[in-house]
């Protein structure tokens, strides 16, 4: 047996995210006890009509969300309890709504900082209706083996450690949420555990006092003793003392009260919970409460530390008198366990998962990414630069200083080529149409292909083919004409021998000045000599030059277009921000820029 929260308790949770978290914790408790989830519905108007999926064991249970408590109880007639997780400024209305619902008998409120007047009105309304309003600021209620309302009891391991999967003999009533958990644990270690533990909340005027719950415990045969954890302030402990002393009670009462430190502090200094305040005339002090409880016959240990032994002594008396029988502990294998997530099982070495992808370049699982094993920040501090990162991520190696300089120059030379080229123009048109940065740049990027900027890889591939197969320039040109077509990397739309591309000249000059071996570049320049002699504009273009140089320093052919893509991204971002900065408007082509070559207007034939 238990009180307030039982096997037959079904719950509606009023509120958003915090309520969903509570439901998750409640589901863990239900799973531990092999019970179905006792949360039937949520009330949260912004999400009405949707569901919250609550993890219950190995399943996700969809719990419907309603606009009103009435909707929830109409659809789930088993509901008899509401948990309030609504903010302090709206908690009053929400709680009234729950109290006024004829199906609901108990309302427990976790909300902190509820105005005192609201709490008092709610308490009075509940008493008038003969219902229980627990809280505000209540951590919840838990009945071992039966029901958990709210997050009381903490994490799953603690629920098991506190033996909350089966009832003991001790009731617990506390104002403090954290201490409720501590006392539950103490009861499970020094005695046989709890029947029900209730957090009544630390406010000055909680909706329900100790006496109401003491009465319930007195009428619950399973409960043999009750541990009451009080605080200075208010008069609830005095009320409990009066109740206990009024006549012979079946239950034993153990109590501690906090706030003795107050005696050695400046007067009026307020500690702890909102309700923990000594009265103006000294009433409600820890000492007067402890005295009252002692006088009533309750067992009042001098300190909190002595509570455990006192509980133990009480339990031993109960054992001796035959009022309780010792409950054998569960064997470790029978202890309830939550199903592990894949991540947890993996960590414990219990499961093998076939990976979905394989990565050889970067590991981000630590506190910073490792590029080929090198921490990014350490690379920076050691003086490495962007070209080295490119080397690590594109070719799995640290490039030399000399190679880094070449890569840097290639990127600088091809970062942009004005607004008229396909990529930049497309980005500009997109920017003028109000398209965002990443999409507009991606639109420009789509232009990179066989005719614009995308010839680097192909140029590299065929120059490499020539060198690998030791072809002469003539053999190469014959092979290309027969099997491939025009040589990628050769030819330019506007540049020619008489109007050379300065970027090409500059790059060639630099690379040649280094004294390194450049078989591909040399070959490409030989090809240019022949082709340019045939036609003025069949020169080695910037794609071809980059390709030859990058193959010379060892980059894989497939990565080569990446250099143009990377470099030109800089330019395209520039074009987009340029248009944005100017507030450019939508553009369209003028009619006169189109050669309308379609048929003139004519009769539409009859549809056959």
């Amino acid at each position: 047996m238990s009180i307030l929260a039982t096997k037959d308790t079904y719950v509606v949770i009023q509120g958003g995210l915090a309520g969903v978290n509570a439901a998750r914790r409640m589901a863990e408790f239900c799973y531990m006890n092999k019970q179905p989830l006792n949360v039937s519905a949520f009330v949260y108007p912004p999400d009405a009509g949707k569901t919250n999926d609550v993890v219950c064991g190995t399943e996700l249970v969809p719990i419907p969300i309603y606009k009103t408590v009435a909707d929830a109880t109409a659809n789930h007639p088993e509901i008899n309890t509401s948990l309030v997780y609504i903010g302090a400024n709206r908690a009053y209305q929400g709680t009234m709504e729950a109290l006024d619902d004829p199906k609901i008998q108990t309302v427990s409120m976790i909300t902190e900082g509820v105005p005192e007047k609201d709490a008092k009105l709610l308490g009075k309304h509940a008493r008038k209706l003969g219902k229980t309003f627990n809280g505000p600021s209540s951590i919840g209620v838990v009945s071992a083996g039966e029901c958990r309302l709210g997050v009381i009891g903490g994490a799953f391991d603690n629920l098991v450690a506190c033996k909350l999967y089966r009832p003991g003999s001790f009731g617990v009533i506390t104002k403090s949420g954290g201490l409720s958990n501590e006392i539950i644990w103490i009861c499970s270690q020094f005695a046989d555990g709890i029947t029900t533990a209730i957090g009544i909340g630390g406010d000055a005027y909680p909706g329900t006092d100790y006496v109401s719950y003491l009465e319930m415990f007195e009428n619950d045969p399973q409960t043999k003793a009750v541990v009451l954890v009080g605080e200075m302030g208010g008069d609830l402990e005095e009320g409990a003392a009066e109740w206990y002393g009024a006549k012979k009670r079946r239950i034993k009462l153990l109590a501690v009260v906090s706030g003795f430190c107050q005696e050695s502090l400046p007067k009026g200094m307020k500690f702890g919970h909102a309700g923990a305040k000594e009265g103006l005339k000294g009433e409600g002090s820890a000492r007067s409460k402890a005295e009252a409880l002692k006088k009533s016959g309750a067992n009042v240990p001098e300190t909190f530390g002595a509570l455990g032994p006192a509980i133990k002594a009480t339990y031993e008396e109960l054992l001796k008198s035959g009022a309780v029988k010792a409950i054998p502990d569960l064997a470790p294998v029978d202890m309830p366990r939550l199903p592990k997530t894949v991540a947890e099982a993996k960590k414990d070495g219990e499961v093998l998962v076939a990976p979905l992808i394989r990565s050889t370049i970067c590991d981000d699982r630590g506190d910073e990414p490792l590029y080929q094993g090198y921490p990014a920040s350490e690379l920076i501090n050691a003086g490495y630069d962007i070209p080295h990162v490119i080397g690590l991520l594109w070719d799995n190696r640290l490039v030399s200083k000399q190679e880094a300089e070449i890569i840097k120059r290639i990127i600088m030379l091809s970062a942009d080529h004005g607004p008229c080229v396909s990529g930049a123009l497309t980005t500009v048109i997109a920017a003028c149409a109000g398209i965002g940065l990443s999409q507009a740049v991606a639109a420009g990027m789509i232009m990179i292909g066989p005719r614009f900027g995308g010839a680097v890889t192909d140029a590299g591939r065929w120059f490499k083919y020539a060198i690998d197969n030791k072809l002469t320039v003539d053999d190469f040109l014959v092979y290309m004409k027969k099997n491939v077509g025009p040589v990628p990397g050769i030819g330019h739309r506007v540049k020619s021998l008489r109007n050379p591309d300065k970027r090409v000249k500059e790059l060639v000059r630099h690379v040649k000045s280094l004294g390194m071996k450049t078989p591909h570049l040399d070959f490409a320049l030989e090809v240019e000599k022949i082709t340019a002699a045939k036609k003025d504009n069949l020169i080695l273009n910037v794609d071809g030059t980059m390709a030859a140089v990058l193959v010379d320093i060892g980059f894989p052919v497939d990565s080569l277009n990446g250099f143009f893509v990377l470099a030109r991204t800089i330019g395209m971002i520039g074009h987009w921000t340029d248009q944005k900065r100017q507030g450019s408007r939508l553009i369209r082509l003028f009619d006169y820029l189109v050669n309308y070559a379609s048929p003139k207007r004519r009769e539409v034939p009859k549809l056959k």
Partner: protein, 349 residues
Amino acid sequence: MAKVLEGPGMGLLRKWGISTPNYVVVTSNEEFEELSKVNDWFKKSKLVVKAHEALGSRFKLGLVKVGLDLAAAKSAVKEMLGKQLESITIREVIVSEAIDHKEEYYASVKSTREGVDVMVTTYGGVEVESNWEKVKKLAVEIGESPTDAQLATLSKDAGFSGDTAKKIAEFLKKLYTCFDNEDAQYLEINPVVQNHSGDLVALDAVTLLDGDAKFRHKDWAFPFAAEFGRAYTTNEEEVMAVDAKVKGSVKLIEIPGGNIAMLPAGGGASVYYSDAVVARGGKLANYAEYSGDPPDWAVEVLTDKVCSLPNIKHIIVGGAIANFTDVKKTFGGIINAFGEDLGAAWRSQ
């Protein structure tokens, strides 16, 4: 609870139709000068000058001066403003009009579990302490209001008669209305006096409001004052500012003279930890508490403040079994701050 200083407290009384003496709160001599030019009562009446800070025993400290003419008031303001009392500087002074009177009465309204108690006695002023049993009380249930007849009876029971009894009943009605509408927890008027035309005037007010109800009182533009007879310290104010910003709570109260610093978790457990220190003869240097799953940086700020307390020998960190606080995270905040603060302390040695 949230204490409100006299100035804004009187403002709330006036809002609900209770007469108070004319008063101004000034923060500089120039302000006093300006106001004395435009307000007739500065010249016509005797004046009272009081330090407007959350201080106990202002009389003893010489921070209340009565029966002053304008010149004397001016020099009293000058003397009080900027005065240093331990950690507190007097930043505000309240100047009010003295009201000639014979009798002094006492009236208060106090929150109780069932509702409110309305209390009144003819033994006002300093006499109330020694005549507490003469105070007559009317208990009003929450959600109800006292009727005129009830208040009339209360006023007669307390020993008022004739026109005064009627006026006291009206006064109590206004006081109750103020209490109820302003989400007050305690209102005490001592003394209530009759001015020369026989009207009741509230000469001094103790006002405690429910800080949790601030969300529905947009006109509470005043700051809340510390309730323990001194103003908040800079450390306390900084922790309060963090507390106001975060989920969960962080709290700090400094206790001068102690040498054991406290850094426990939980509103309930923190007090038991403090009790345990006191029970063993220790002297607390502070009260602190964090709870409700606060962010690690908030706990780090609190830890910093605790570490900065003067003359501390020990810092006690503890708590109960957490319900939903991510203990790994909150301890992360403590460890970060310890790392920095203890590191700094070692380096300085």
